[in-house]
């Protein structure tokens, strides 16, 4: 069965990529290395994993507002995620995605942290406000 969750477009665009799901909130400033795309937040469940090119799914952002600039830097360096899916986004992630043109959707009609899992191939159509599974491996 093909799961398709509908939600809210925050930043438009269409992207595909492998899912990477974080159960915890993410701070880009000090939490992600923009040079490598790797999560460096000590003790974070995804510490050591790369978010580059992924459909990065996490509850919400946290930390310093400078985090917005980190997303922008990653986009410029080619280490940014393909798209971001939040349960409910906030100002740091939303600002970062707007200035970097990274598609961002949130408030889906299902729980993206449960319905999607690492390694699934996902398609994010932020313009139309949905996320769907293309393949499960």
């Amino acid at each position: 069965m093909n799961v398709k969750l509908k939600g809210r477009k925050v930043v438009g665009g269409v992207a595909e990529g492998e899912a990477l799901v974080s159960s915890e909130a993410v701070s880009f400033y000090g939490g992600v290395d923009p040079e490598t795309g790797i999560i460096i937040d000590h003790g974070h469940p995804l510490e050591g994993r790369s978010i580059t090119g992924k459909v990065f799914i996490f509850p919400t952002g946290k930390g310093s507002t400078v985090g917005s600039y980190v997303i922008y830097r990653m986009k410029k360096l080619g280490t940014a995620p393909a798209a971001i899916v939040n349960v409910e986004t906030e100002i740091i992630i939303a600002t970062g995605c707007v200035i970097s043109e990274v598609p961002l959707v949130d408030k889906l009609d299902g729980n993206p942290l449960i319905d999607f899992s690492d390694g699934m191939h996902l398609r994010v159509d932020a313009d139309e406000g949905f996320v769907e599974i293309i393949s499960r491996d």
Binding site: V10, P34, T65, V66, Y69, Y72, R73, I91, I99
Partner: protein
């Protein structure tokens, strides 16, 4: 979100690519926070200036905006940089950092932002009228402008304040709305704070306990500018407080007393203050005393000069202030007294945004809970005391 014809035109590039991009950001955030429309703002205070926080990433974004033609259309001042723009070498700031910092300021200048480099724009003549909509970042200045002045802003960021400065607009949500400014908690002080340090402690405790709830504080006595800026700065540091009301003190407090019924109460006593102070205080051997967080007022510099007169601080006293206040203090002769005692006074920067580790610092003592909080998180050993205790103890 509803946009006027003029705003629609700006969004589709009628006023240049930069304004369009900036408005796109404000509209996207407005949608996220459920704003129904945009509102005109009259002043902006822009954060994200220190090269330490901004790095090449932030500088690249700012440069791109300036290249696209971003120019501010309302009064816009700038938060502190990572160094005194003239005396950085004396501060021990590395050359490479200084180069990055100069490029940041040059980029802001191209966009016609006033390079004030202070967290206290309200002390140097950038003081909006009560009730006006503004777009301010720098959490301590946000607290001051919302609470003490009674203008209206959310807790903005570097990109959003620049976007508001360039478009003259902000999305109408949060603390811009009358009903969102109402208190959510009552705070009772068992004892009136006697020192700036104690006002700073009260703010720190309130922020820690209440997070982002708007507090209505009773028992503050008769605080001056210094106490008001200290309280807000630490409340915004330990929590996310952007607005507070002080009974009999802040301009909206009277009107807010209609909404106190049924609110939960928090009381703060002397023990809470001692506990908060001890949590950020270690016995230190040879600390550098750092004052001016937020940037020192003329009164504070006067007090410092009186307390160090004739003493030998030998570079172990650093004071941070704005250029405006520095100039007044110089005219009044306070600067000479502090410098003769071996103290140093720097402008454009502070202990929170300067690269202290790279400058070789390890032990610091201050009267500000905000400064102590951030310096501790940078890995420095801290102690908190009053100005008197720090300089004469």
């Amino acid at each position: 979100m509803y946009l006027t014809k003029e705003q629609e035109a700006m969004l589709s590039g009628g006023e240049g690519a930069a304004a369009a991009k900036m408005l796109e950001l404000l509209v996207a955030l407005g949608e996220v926070f459920g704003a129904e429309r945009l509102v005109q703002v009259e002043s902006a205070h822009i954060s994200g200036v220190s090269y330490k926080n901004l790095g090449e990433a932030g500088l690249e974004w700012l440069t791109e905006q300036a290249d696209m033609g971003a120019r501010v259309r309302i009064r816009a001042t700038l938060n502190p940089a990572g160094m005194d723009m003239d005396k950085w070498r004396e501060m021990g700031v590395p050359e490479e950092f200084a180069d990055g910092q100069r490029r940041v300021l040059e980029t802001f200048r191209r966009m016609n932002v006033e390079p004030t480099c202070t967290c206290t724009p309200y002390l140097i003549g950038h003081k909006p009228d009560r009730g006006t909509q503004v777009a301010w970042a720098e959490s301590s200045a946000v607290c001051y402008v919302n609470s003490v002045i009674g203008a209206r802003t959310n807790r903005e960021s570097g990109p959003t304040t620049l976007a508001s400065a360039v478009t003259g607009l902000a999305a109408l949500y949060g603390y811009r709305l009358e009903e969102k400014r109402r208190p959510g908690y009552i705070v009772n002080l068992d004892q009136t704070p006697e020192t700036i340090m104690n006002y700073s402690a009260v703010g720190y405790i309130v922020g820690k306990r209440l997070g982002t709830i708007v507090p209505y504080i009773r028992g503050l006595g008769n605080p001056g500018t210094e106490a008001l800026k200290a309280l807000g700065a630490s409340a915004a540091t330990s929590g996310g407080i952007a607005l507070w009301h002080g009974e009999g003190i802040t301009p909206e407090a009277d009107a807010m007393s209609d909404y106190l019924e049924g609110l939960e109460k928090l009381s703060i006593d002397r023990e809470d203050i001692v506990e908060a102070k001890e949590a950020l205080s270690k016995p230190l051997k040879d600390p550098i005393v750092v004052l001016g967080c937020p940037h020192a007022t003329l009164n504070e510099i006067f007090e410092i000069s009186q307390r160090v007169k004739g003493r030998k601080m030998e570079g172990k006293l650093w004071v941070f202030t704005s250029r405006g206040v520095y100039h007044e203090a110089e005219m009044a002769g306070y600067m000479k007294t502090i410098e003769e005692a071996g103290g140093r006074v720097y402008r454009d920067t502070c202990m929170v945004v300067a690269p202290l580790k790279e400058m070789g610092w390890s032990e610091v003592a201050t009267n500000s809970f905000k400064a102590a909080h951030y310096m501790a998180s940078m890995g420095l050993e801290t102690r908190i005391d009053t100005i008197k205790g720090l300089l004469e103890g």
